[in-house]
């Protein structure tokens, strides 16, 4: 919302010593977030009111050659000796004697200010020299359409005056963030905004004296509200429309409206818009005769029986009901839409837009002026359903106070200077005044301040609250327009805010001396980062929790198992993922393409699937997963996984072959079972790792061998860590032997390795059995060789040759049982 500071100054005396900058800072810290500050003066620099002394048509063109008198500025731009400045103008309405607006050479066209900054110069048009230009309202930023050049009322200006001086454009506009005023409908009007500024400056804001229109019934008009919940109050006045021809001159009203981003239409509409900007209360004018006619037509068609009295009925829309709006579009109503009807025939979509059937036009003689308020909840639905984002509905969806409809209507009628033929005020349930009892102690206790009672009372009274004090207790009555005040905290907010949160002395809570607890899962994730990134040189990535159906299908997962986002931004982000690996697979190709060769990616994040079911509080059960992808085969990834578990986390998990067709193979459908293992905890599968299936790799366009691991961290977060503190170090020299075993081609390395460990352990030795190589001369060779490097020592003595021979013999015998022979 755009707020003109000059407009605020009409209501509030700003102390001379307070700079505009400081004022804006105070508003920003005590009322509303300010998004932008716009200075108007530079925008209108070099723009003057001038008199067109002569305007002669240039033959065979639409152009006129004009001589202008720019008062004191003439000399600066005129040719030596000339008393006027020459400008070529293409507007049809340019004529000798008129006052026009001149943008001087070297100045920026105001409508382009801040964007393309189009700077005018001296140039030739059809061979005639033209200095700057005579501007239309659009070029000055007051209108959207280019019609004619702006003509100025000679009563308000003379040649040489700067446009900014005449039209109050030495102004500062602040663009405020509407969201931070969602609960303050009163601040969507300049008066309400100014009241807060007064409060911030510690000044009492004089209560506005609203005229009170007398109810009248010279003309019959009935208003019926079917449900006060959808329309708490509906006030209207009927009167004969005074002359409503659009003004010939550029009016101060048009300029005032432009400061709020609005445009001048005709005097009636302009007045309703000015009233809305000042008070926050939107108004709407219907053509009375059309409204009555529409109502009668309905009577005939619906055969409701004759009704003598025209009746405005405010009601909810019925299923399938349609209405053609002022913009020409016909909409189909939603059940929450509120309709203004004439004898039940829709004439306006309440709060949003009038109907075409009751539009004011050149033939309109009599109007019904509506000042009403509606349920903000319904209007919000209306706004969303029909995409209407007008200044009026913006205000209505904050919940305009019912107390203000009639005063604003009265003021509008007074400004029009008309005598209404009918005035109706339907106000079924008048709300009671809100009174909050609170103590100064309570206020200070929550804020952490020591404000005295007098300061607090004055602060509240400045913004028109009524306060009566009994001892420490205050009885605070909110003004009628403050629909947001209900509880003590609302009063505390007023006091704290108006006196400045920044003036609250800072303190720290006293805390009992106690340790803190970080959720174990967060600790585990931190620890994994240090293992995987800092020690194993992997890269941590974050990818979206939302994935596409295509990604799920590419990795072999069933989209039906996944929560689906019904209002997703794009099909790419439609499902909540149940595993991390598919998202990581999607990140490999691009990184390879940008030159990375040997890398591993991992991510730690929450996942869920429908199969997880719901928690006790009936929300989806979430799992914390670790996903890893690495460029390399099963064995490379296995080394990473085992190092992470054993060396890093100090936990021991079992692993076994992933069996094709098993449940685990379905859970990890992207893994090639023949080249993969499941991770087991007490027999339960809690993860898997292995190589990606060829078909999956093709779908992800991966040309190298890629391995992946998915692990459920919730299963290991509480596992005891085993740190081997029983370090066996021998004082005696150790023996080292290389050992190569010839085994059949299908022999399992793990079994042979375990056997070696068992033999050495049974001899009560301190030992290490390090795998060195696996050699197979050709893929179809019936045998292969396993080589180990053995290192062993006795805790008690130096091993001699006979001891060593005994040990090696035992190994020979034991491995022979597995069909292996020492080479």
């Amino acid at each position: 919302m755009l707020i003109s500071l000059n407009s605020i100054k009409k209501y509030v005396q700003i102390p001379a010593e307070l700079s505009t900058e400081k004022l804006i800072e105070l508003i920003g810290s005590r009322l509303v977030e300010i998004e932008e500050v716009i200075e108007l003066a530079p925008k209108y620099k070099g723009v003057y009111i001038v008199k067109v002394v002569s305007a002669e048509k240039i033959p065979d063109t639409h152009l006129s050659l004009c001589q202008i008198d720019a008062g004191t500025h003439t000399a600066e731009f005129a040719e030596a000796g000339a008393e006027t400045v020459q400008v070529v103008c293409g507007a049809p309405n340019v004529h000798a004697g008129m006052l026009a607006v001149w943008i001087t050479p070297g100045s920026i066209v105001p409508s382009t200010y801040g964007n393309e900054n189009f700077r005018l110069g001296k140039r030739k048009l059809q061979g005639y020299e033209s200095n700057g230009m005579l501007a239309g309202a659009d070029e000055l930023g007051f209108d959207n359409e280019h019609k004619t050049i702006a003509e100025i009322d000679p009563k308000i200006a003379q040649p040489g005056d700067s446009l900014a001086d005449v039209f109050d454009l030495n102004d500062t506009i602040i663009d405020v963030e509407n969201k931070s005023l969602t609960h303050r409908p009163d601040c969507f009007g300049l008066i309400g905004f100014a009241r807060e500024v007064a409060g911030i400056l510690g000044q009492p804001f004089p209560e506005i004296e609203w005229p009170a229109l007398k109810l009248a019934d010279d003309l019959a008009m009935k208003v019926t509200i079917t449900d006060s919940a959808i329309c708490p109050r509906y006030s209207c006045a009927i009167f004969d429309l005074p002359d409503n021809q659009p003004e010939k001159y550029l009016t101060p009203t048009a300029v005032f409206l432009s400061k709020a981003g609005m445009r001048s239409i005709d005097p009636m509409v302009d007045l309703t818009n000015v009233m809305m900007l000042e008070t926050g209360q939107p108004l709407h004018a219907f053509d009375y005769d059309k409204l009555v006619a529409v109502g009668q037509s309905g009577q005939n068609s619906q055969q409701n029986g004759a009704k003598d009295t025209p009746e405005i009925i405010v009601r909810l829309a019925q299923p399938g009901e349609t209405i053609q709006l002022l913009d020409g579009k016909t909409i189909e109503c939603i059940p929450e839409d509120i309709l203004i009807t004439s004898n039940s025939i829709p004439v306006a979509l309440a709060g949003a837009m009038g109907g075409k059937n009751t539009e004011i036009d050149a033939s309109t003689k009599r109007v019904v002026l509506e000042s009403a308020t509606f349920s903000l909840y319904n209007l919000r639905k209306t706004q969303m359903a029909h995409g209407i984002f007008s200044e009026a509905i913006t205000r209505f969806t904050k919940g305009q106070p019912a107390a203000m409809t009639f005063p604003v209507l009265s003021e509008t009628v007074a400004r029009l200077g008309v005598s209404p033929l009918a005035v109706v005020d339907a106000y079924p349930d008048k709300p009671r005044k809100t009174v909050v009892k609170i103590t100064t102690l309570e206020i200070n206790q929550l804020l952490g301040t020591t404000y005295d009672q007098g300061t607090i009372i004055k602060t509240l009274e400045n913004v028109n609250f009524t306060v009566s004090a009994t001892g420490d207790t205050l009885e605070v009555t909110a003004p009628a327009w403050r629909t947001d005040i209900h509880i003590k905290e609302d009063i505390i907010e007023e006091v704290g805010r108006l006196l400045g949160y920044d003036n609250i002395p800072l303190a720290l809570p006293e805390k009992p001396f106690a340790g803190t607890e970080v959720a174990p899962m967060l600790r585990l994730k931190s620890e994994l980062r240090s293992i995987l990134s800092d020690r194993l040189a992997m890269h941590e990535v974050l990818t979206y929790s939302f994935v596409s159906k295509a990604l799920l299908e590419k990795s072999g997962q069933d989209p039906a198992d996944h929560y689906e986002i019904v209002n997703s931004i794009s099909p790419e982000l439609q499902n909540f993922r149940s595993q991390i690996v598919p998202s990581l697979l999607d990140k490999i190709r691009e990184n390879i393409k940008s030159g990375h060769r040997d890398f591993s990616l991992y991510e730690l994040n929450q996942v869920s699937s429908k199969a997880n079911g719901l928690s006790a509080e009936e929300t989806p059960v979430l799992n914390n997963h670790l996903g890893i992808v690495c460029l390399g085969d099963f064995y490379k990834l296995k080394t990473y996984i085992l190092t992470m578990l054993r060396r890093g986390l100090k936990v021991e998990l079992e692993y076994s072959q992933l069996v094709a067709g098993s449940k685990a193979a379905e859970t990890y459908p992207y893994l090639e079972p023949a080249h993969s293992a499941v991770l087991l905890l007490n027999g339960e599968t809690i993860g898997a790792f292995g190589e990606i299936k060829a078909a999956v790799a093709r779908r992800f366009k991966l040309e190298t061998i890629v391995s992946a691991c998915e692990l459920d961290l919730d299963k290991i977060v509480d596992l005891p860590r085993r740190i081997d503190t029983d370090l066996k170090l021998s004082r005696f020299p150790s023996v080292e032997r290389d050992l190569t075993l010839k085994v059949s081609a299908d022999a399992q390395f793990g079994r042979v390795h375990t056997l070696l460990d068992q033999v050495l352990a049974s001899e009560n030795l301190i030992f290490e059995t390090l795998p060195v190589s696996i050699y197979q001369s050709s893929p179809d060779s019936p045998t292969k060789n396993f080589s180990f490097h053995l290192k062993f020592s006795s805790p008690d003595k130096t091993l001699d040759q006979s001891d060593i021979t005994k040990i090696m013999d035992k190994i020979t015998v034991e491995v022979a049982a597995l069909g292996a022979e020492i080479v």
């Binding site: 920003g28 810290s29 005590r30 009322l31 977030e33 300010i34 931070s180 005023l181 969602t182 609960h183 909840y377 919000r380 969303m384 904050k398 929550l446 952490g448 509880i487 905290e489 505390i492 805010r497 949160y501 920044d502 609250i504 800072l506 303190a507 720290l508 809570p509 009992p512 106690a514 803190t516 970080v518 899962m521 967060l522 980062r529 995987l532 194993l536 992997m538 890269h539 941590e540 990535v541 974050l542 979206y544 929790s545 939302f546 929560y563 986002i565 019904v566 209002n567 997703s568 931004i569 909540f576 990140k587 691009e590 990184n591 940008s594 990375h596 890398f599 990616l601 929450q606 929300t619």
Partner: protein
């Protein structure tokens, strides 16, 4: 004659002088012997040094600008990286934890009750629009703010209050907003929520705690200021700004988070008596901290999985 030859000659001459010892009275021989030995040692040291220098002179210098010696493989150490968001999140957690806050993690799928109802959003209230929430077909909500955890945190820690203690929790997590991504907007981002409840919590304490946090985080004294905000779950509500720290250029103000005194209805919903206890809560983005710290121009890098980006951290 080379330096070494000179020294060797000197040594030879010195050795020749040793014979003098026989001509000296016995009581002077000790002193003479020690002096001679010291001189000899000095010459020997000088010879060793000269020989060492001569050896170095024979070694030709290598090309220190090259990555390796000719015909040798280039050594490339394997380096991993942590995601910058997670690095900062860990840091944020550790500061709050040191200040005495417990830490729990936010849920990535939640419901209308936790996201809105338990936070005093009136049904159908337009304030709900401000959050642009996603929904699943079951009407679950990938939460749009970590405040979705407030009710749980309050309920979980209620017993601490009743035992005479306080509630002090921070809750980091991933949140989601239905808005199109551009350089400064992401539909997926991280926030950290804070909740504090005690018998005598004040707004002054809230600002004090937050100032303390940012001073720890940026490692310097900072000025703070506020602007009014509106959140249905806090009253009064404010937005906190900090003066741009010197490490970030030091000019102007930065909007860091939304905060306020917990609305009595929110306490009531969690079974906490708002007449006995007061609290404050806040929530702010983590992405913004990281973007500021590293002067990043595009928020979309975070979830891009691009190694070219991640390797910078």
């Amino acid at each position: 004659m080379s330096e070494i030859e000179k020294l060797k000659l000197e040594l030879k001459n010195l050795n020749a002088e040793y014979v003098k010892i026989k001509t000296l009275p016995p009581e002077e021989r000790g002193t003479f012997g020690r002096e001679m030995n010291a001189k000899k040692q000095k010459i020997l040291n000088a010879i060793a040094k000269a020989e060492e220098n001569a050896e170095s002179e024979n070694i030709s210098p290598i090309d220190i600008s090259a990555p390796c010696a000719p015909n040798e493989p280039i050594f490339r150490p394997a380096l991993g990286s942590r995601h910058p968001l997670m690095t900062e999140l860990d840091r944020v957690i550790s500061i709050y934890s040191d200040m005495g806050f417990n830490v729990m993690e936010s849920n990535q799928l939640d419901d209308e009750f936790h996201m809105f109802d338990s936070l005093n959003f009136p049904k159908e209230h337009p304030a709900r629009d401000g959050y642009d929430t996603f929904r699943t077909s079951e009407n679950f909500i990938p939460p749009a703010h970590t405040s979705t955890m407030q009710h749980r945190a309050l309920k979980k820690c209620k017993k601490d209050l009743e035992n005479g203690g306080q509630i002090a929790v921070v809750i980091p997590g991933r949140v989601f907003r239905n808005e199109d991504a551009d350089a400064t907007h992401e539909h997926t981002f991280y926030q950290c929520e804070g909740v504090f409840v005690s018998k005598d919590a004040t707004m002054g304490q809230m600002f004090g705690v937050l100032k303390q946090f940012f001073e720890n985080y940026y490692g310097q004294k900072l000025n703070i200021k506020t602007q009014p905000g509106y959140f249905p779950f806090t009253e009064p509500s404010a937005e906190l700004l900090i003066e741009r720290p010197s490490s970030l250029g030091g000019e102007g103000w930065l909007e860091m988070l939304g905060c306020g005194m917990i609305h009595p209805n929110v306490l009531k919903m969690a079974g906490i008596d708002p007449d006995k206890y007061h609290g404050f809560a806040w929530g702010g983005g983590i992405d913004r901290l990281v973007m500021l710290k590293y002067q990043l121009g595009d928020i979309r890098y975070f979830e891009s999985g691009k190694l070219d980006f991640l390797e910078e951290f």
